[in-house]
């Protein structure tokens, strides 16, 4: 895919999840992959206290033309990548629109309020139904379980990157991923990450 073929410019991606899921790494990997393609990427993030069990978001602005605000304006997200399912709904409330699309990991991380019985967590069917209602198209994968089968739930975020590549909305290629991951990880970890990426692509394509 050529960079001029972005369906929107800027193309706005939100990667969301719970602090500790590897949100930041995922956004960096994606941002660097797209930078390799010559695109201008701006990423907005919140670190710090939100790590302690709170919701986190990374906003990615992808453009052929210029740099943009690190915060996506209301109602302007084109793709929501949710490492945790209810975060997809939370993000769509502020940044969604009828043309938004979503890629969701289905494994829940219960908020403390749910664990303590104060509020309830939606059922898997409700989640799927509601996300579909709020998007033009939605994909659901169980990246955490697949990652755990690989040996470590932390690969879930890399799988989601692979799945995003598999969807085909953005110019993402395996060589770019390999180059980016080799630059930021020790060499003995690269192979595992590539497997995770490949599995993510497969989860969408089949």
């Amino acid at each position: 895919m050529e960079k001029s073929e972005l369906s929107y410019d800027p193309y706005n991606v939100i990667i969301t999840g719970v602090g500790g899921q590897g949100n930041v790494l995922a956004s960096r990997v994606l941002g660097n992959m797209l930078t390799e393609k010559g695109l201008q990427v701006t990423i907005g993030e919140t670190f710090g206290a939100s790590q302690r069990g709170g919701s986190v978001m990374s906003h990615l602005r992808i453009s052929a033309a210029s740099s943009w605000s690190p915060q996506i304006p209301k109602g302007k997200a084109h793709m929501v990548v949710a490492l945790e399912p209810i975060e997809a709904i939370r993000v769509l409330m502020n940044y969604g629109s009828p043309v938004a699309k979503a890629l969701c990991n289905t494994r829940p991380i219960h908020p403390v309020g749910v664990i303590s019985g104060e509020v309830s967590y939606p059922t898997p069917d409700e989640l799927k139904q509601w996300v579909k209602e709020l998007t033009e198209k939605a994909w659901f994968v169980n990246a955490t379980d697949a990652a755990m089968q690989m040996g470590n739930p932390i690969f879930g975020n890399i799988m989601m990157i692979g799945a995003l590549a598999g969807i085909g909305e953005l110019p993402m290629e395996r060589e770019d991923f390999e180059m980016v991951i080799s630059r930021s990880m020790p060499s003995d970890k690269v192979k595992a990450n590539l497997s995770a990426y490949d599995m993510g692509v497969k989860m969408i394509r089949q």
Partner: protein, 646 residues
């Protein structure tokens, strides 16, 4: 990533975090010394430089507090080296006394102070500002408006500082420091500066004489002249840019991250041909000739900035002085309610302001979609309260402290301060903290409370401090309390690191910023030397900690120190290794029945414990559980079992 910071060649383009861009800028400027104290959103600057120091000749230090960090950087400057000191907005307050004097004495090698402010207090207990200090101590203030500027401005700042022989403030905010964008690199210079502090010249010789603020009024006048020198450079600075029509209906004046919001807002509502955007990178002092040039072009002026009306006030003062030349203006901003006076901004808020002034309707999201999305979010997106990590020693510590104070039944309370344990104000820490201000303030308040017995105060007083905070700000308050015979319990939550900000080392540990071995200062010995009785417990041992705390409560006199020593669950040293495999016997679990009522999930609330509504029992989420075993000690039915991991 640090390889990238060092290896990137001139002309190469990279996706960098604002803080990384600032660090690269410092390296391109040939910085030799960098010092700071961990503080979100600034910490990555020192971390990046510290990594770089493994391959460049560069001294990088995590100082014990921001005042000392500034002094360490100043020393390098006095010795002719380029230096940088880095902190969050609070840090400037801590360093302000030295900052004031440093402005008077001036500097030699270029020195740049980089405060990173936190509008909206995303990771702070305040949304205070550092910009005012520039005006207060009369030094130049620069604010990068995007990621490329974050790098390029640093080099310019060093050059300016060396020219005028005064330190320069380069201020960033969270949404630049922690955001990432495109940056094109320049080259890295050869490093061959030698450090030497010349001091035998005449008293008032700025290059060869001693470094002092005396004589004060003379130095003060010198400082003001330096500032004027900076202003003439500001008039020509490439960091002040204008985009838009020659005579716009509305002129937006902005700086910092607000520049990106304003740019996007103009694009969102399609008013590029009606609205001009003046982005200032040199925000104190405002260059009058430049300002006059643009202020004259429009009748309506909107000033977009976070948080306090610093830029707005300064523009208005200038406009008043230039009134005869530029005419009467209508200002929009914080004072007239167009821009919020608290919290951070974003493109939508700027759109709202512009749309109102120009009479435009803008709908960010179709209303039907918005209503439905909100309704679904109420149902399907329960909020995530902040909590301690699974396996956090603070959860165990505050469990015990809270329960002991309840049993003691005299309305005892805990004074806290800044760190992960600040969360003990919330239900995750059982609401145990009852005061929360700045670094070390809990100990100072406790020192005060502990003297109020003579006025009939019977409540037990406790202060909790972290191990890093102990060295930063607690020592003076502690010494004050012992010398003035104040009565309270000082609990040092020693989790072996500065956890909240990302696990930076401090003098209590055996490593330094670079990761090399370093002499450590033993907290227990320091407390004993000051003259307090010291007990040490493992907070995971609930029984022992509780018993010790009761004993300390019995002792009415003086400062008693209790060190609760247990390593942070996220510590790199711990390597996420579980101490125990923990599981719940469902047949023993009492669930919601009288005798328990789900204490582990309803009250203790460790994220690793899940309430299974259908079965009516608690379960452990093995992905989240950190294996600390504390829940096993508190289950009233004995349903939670822990098995030591080999």
């Amino acid at each position: 990533m640090s390889n990238l910071i060092l290896e990137g060649k001139k002309g190469s383009r990279h996706l960098l975090m604002g803080n990384e861009a600032i660090a690269r800028g410092a390296l391109e400027a040939g910085v030799c010394v960098a010092a700071g104290y961990p503080g979100t959103p600034s910490s990555e600057i020192i971390e990046t430089l510290s990594d770089a120091s493994k391959e460049r000749k560069l001294y990088v230090e995590w100082s014990v507090n921001e005042k000392v960090a500034m002094e360490v950087a100043a020393a390098a400057s006095f010795a002719g080296l380029r230096s940088m000191c880095v902190m969050k907005q609070n840090g400037v307050n801590v360093a302000s006394d030295f900052l004031l004097h440093l402005a008077y004495s001036g500097t030699r090698g270029g020195m740049v102070l980089v405060p990173c402010d936190d509008p909206e207090a995303l990771s702070s207990a305040n949304e205070g500002e550092s910009r005012h200090f520039a005006k207060l101590v009369e030094i130049p203030l620069l604010e990068p408006g995007d990621f490329q500027e974050a790098k390029d401005m640093v080099k310019w700042a060093f050059e300016l500082s060396e020219e005028i022989k005064s330190l320069v403030m380069l201020r960033s905010v969270t949404r630049l420091s922690h955001a990432s964008g495109s940056v094109v690199f320049d080259e890295l210079p050869e490093q061959d500066t030698t450090a030497h502090f010349s001091h035998s010249g005449a008293f008032i010789d700025p290059v060869e004489g001693p470094m002092t603020t005396l004589p004060v009024t003379w130095r003060h006048t010198q400082l003001q002249e330096k500032l004027q020198q900076a202003v003439s450079k500001f008039e020509e600075s490439p960091f002040n840019t204008y985009t838009g029509p020659q005579t716009p209906e509305l002129l937006i004046i902005t700086s910092s991250a607000c520049h990106l919001y304003s740019k996007e807002a103009i694009d969102l509502i399609g008013v590029k041909d009606r609205v001009g955007l003046l982005k200032l990178g040199t925000t104190w002092p405002l260059p009058p000739k430049l300002m006059q040039q643009y202020l004259i072009r429009a009748d309506k002026i909107l000033i977009v900035e976070e948080v306090i009306s610093f830029l707005e006030d300064n523009v208005k003062i200038l406009a008043a002085e230039l009134a005869s030349k530029i005419g009467i203006k209508t200002f929009f901003g914080k004072k007239n309610g167009a821009i919020p006076t608290a919290g951070e901004l974003n493109p939508d808020l700027v759109v709202t302001a512009i749309a109102k002034i120009l009479g435009i309707n803008y709908e960010a999201m179709p209303q039907a979609y918005g209503n439905r999305a909100k309704a679904l979010a109420d149902l399907g997106a329960p909020g995530r309260d902040l909590t301690f990590c699974p396996g956090c020693p603070h959860r165990a510590s505050f469990w015990t402290i809270h329960n002991v104070l309840q049993m003691d039944n005299r309305e005892g309370f805990v004074c806290g301060d800044i760190g992960c344990y600040s969360l003990a104000m919330l239900p995750c820490g059982f609401g145990t903290l009852k005061t929360l201000h700045s670094m070390g303030s809990g100990a100072g308040l406790a020192s005060g409370f502990g003297k109020l017995k003579m006025f009939g105060m019977d409540q037990p007083v406790v202060a909790t401090v972290g191990d890093s905070t102990f060295f930063h700000a607690v020592l003076p308050a502690f010494i004050n309390a012992v010398h003035n015979k104040s009565g309270f319990i000082l609990i040092i939550l020693d989790n072996s690191g500065t956890a909240m900000t990302g696990f930076q080392p401090h003098p209590g540990l055996q490593v330094d910023a670079k990761g090399d071995e370093a002499p450590h200062i033993d907290i227990v010995s320091v407390c004993e030397a000051i003259g307090a009785k010291v007990s040490v417990c493992d907070p995971f041992d609930i029984q022992h900690t509780q018993q010790t705390l009761f004993e300390l409560l019995e002792d009415k006199e003086g400062v008693k120190v209790l060190v609760l020593k247990q390593i942070c669950a996220l510590s790199p040293e711990k390597k996420a290794k579980k101490m125990y495999e923990v599981e719940i016997d469902e047949t023993v679990c009492l669930g919601e029945n009288c005798g328990c009522n789900r204490m582990c999930t309803r009250v203790f609330k460790c994220p690793g414990l899940i309430w299974d509504k259908e079965k009516g029992v608690s379960t452990i989420d093995e992905v989240i559980c950190a294996g600390c075993g504390v829940c096993a000690s508190i289950c009233p039915a004995g349903a939670i079992n822990k098995k030591e991991v080999a």
